[in-house]
Subunit: 227 residues, 2 copies
DNA sequence: GGTTGTTTGTGGACACCGTCCACTTTAACG
DNA sequence: CGTTAAAGTGGACGGTGTCCACAAACAACC
């Protein structure tokens, strides 16, 4: 045992024993989450397997238990990251619509951009999309030292962005204020349902053209529901 | 070994060796599916564990491989059974609405009954509902010697029942024929999305009252989308 | 009816997974 | 310095899906 140059007979150089504990402070935890995200991207929530994540980070399986209580807690962190990525894509899609907040046309386009970005993410990143909504029953969410500026920061969650788009629609005079309360849920349900049905669901084998038509007809249906 | 009245000394009776191969023809396969359905009912698709199913049937794990290529094929059969049960519950719900097929009021009530039964099944049998839509990528579906009377039998699948309800709505003069093609998909998406979001999704912790309100507002939204 | 061959169930084994335990090393702090 | 808590290691256990070779039960055929 001892220290120094002991062992290391052949080239595998399994544990230089000086490479241990050289990583910066939170690197292993962050690396495990990043590895889990890549696993989820490729294979959905079931593919985020603890041992494989530690392998990718280059650490022994048990090391994960210094950062997460169990596999579900790691999965919860990965789910949060996936949800954040969905939120980022939606924000990016909305930001490409120009025009003032209370302009009727722009407000409507922004709502459409939200739905489109949501469906696009589900289509292009099916593994991450499924993972975002595969939060385990325990470990509701993981607040990794969030700075809370008392509402100064905008809500980048999918539901938050949908809500502000609908509020803007009211301010623009497109949606009657009496119709506003609670509309986010039917709309969210419709978009989410189509994403699931055409993702892992029974509609997963439709070709691109049909899929585009399904998305279009859903958005039209939602628009009609808003008058 | 021998035959006749051997074995049956006490209740453990581990392997009387004459108890082998005493089950009727397709009993093991049917038993495995039934056991899988109960596992899915209690814990969703991930709870459909091959070894546990064989344990419930009282057979060794490898026996399952005489009836299914692998665990996914068993799961596919369980998914089909779960989907069939969903279809049965919907048909039962619809059948409780009386009135002729082309009566506007009855036709509308039937459509509502379809959505209500769908959401009710998802709420009361979350494990089976999730399993019905957890069909593995391979093994699309399993036709266990289906008799096909060339359309004489009615389609009891959820989508089939939704379609016939919408067709009846057209025949009753409630829905304009031009609006009919493709409407089933936005409607299905909305109902399915709410079922998923309030089931395993982020809305799973809402209380019964809120849940009822969500369902009601979704059905109103859909009704408005149909004029 | 006895032989033969195909189904169906058995026993044992393998690799992989999540998780627990005891141990050693590292980093931080007085 | 020395001490102590955190972080990583090694080895083990039970559980799972799956493969292989073998034996019993059935079906079929001459």
């Amino acid at each position: 045992m001892t220290i120094a140059g002991a062992g290391e007979t052949a080239e595998p150089a399994p544990k230089p024993d000086a490479e241990r504990r050289r990583r910066p402070r939170g690197a292993v935890r962050a690396g495990l989450i990043a590895a889990g995200v890549e696993l989820a991207r490729a294979g959905g929530p079931d593919a985020v397997v603890l041992r494989e994540a530690t392998r990718l980070v280059g650490v022994v399986p048990n090391a994960a238990y210094r950062h997460f209580a169990d596999r579900d807690e790691l999965l919860a962190a990965v789910c949060a990251a996936a949800m954040a990525e969905l939120g980022d894509r939606m924000a990016e899609g909305v930001s490409q619509v120009t025009g003032p907040r209370d302009d009727p046309n722009a407000a409507f386009l922004r709502l459409g951009a939200i739905g489109t970005a949501y469906l696009r993410f589900a289509r292009e990143e099916p593994g991450l999309f499924a993972t975002a909504y595969a939060v385990p029953d325990e470990h509701p969410y993981i607040p990794p030292s969030e700075e809370e500026d008392a509402g100064a920061v905008v809500d980048r969650s999918p539901l938050g962005q949908l809500r502000s788009a609908l509020d803007a629609l009211v301010d623009a005079g497109v949606l009657r204020p009496g119709e506003r309360p609670g509309v986010e849920y039917p709309i969210w349900s419709g978009v989410h349902g189509l994403a699931v049905l055409t993702g892992q669901g029974p509609l997963r084998d439709v070709d691109d053209e049909e899929r585009a038509q399904l998305e279009q007809s859903l958005l039209s249906f939602i628009a009609k529901g808003l008058e």
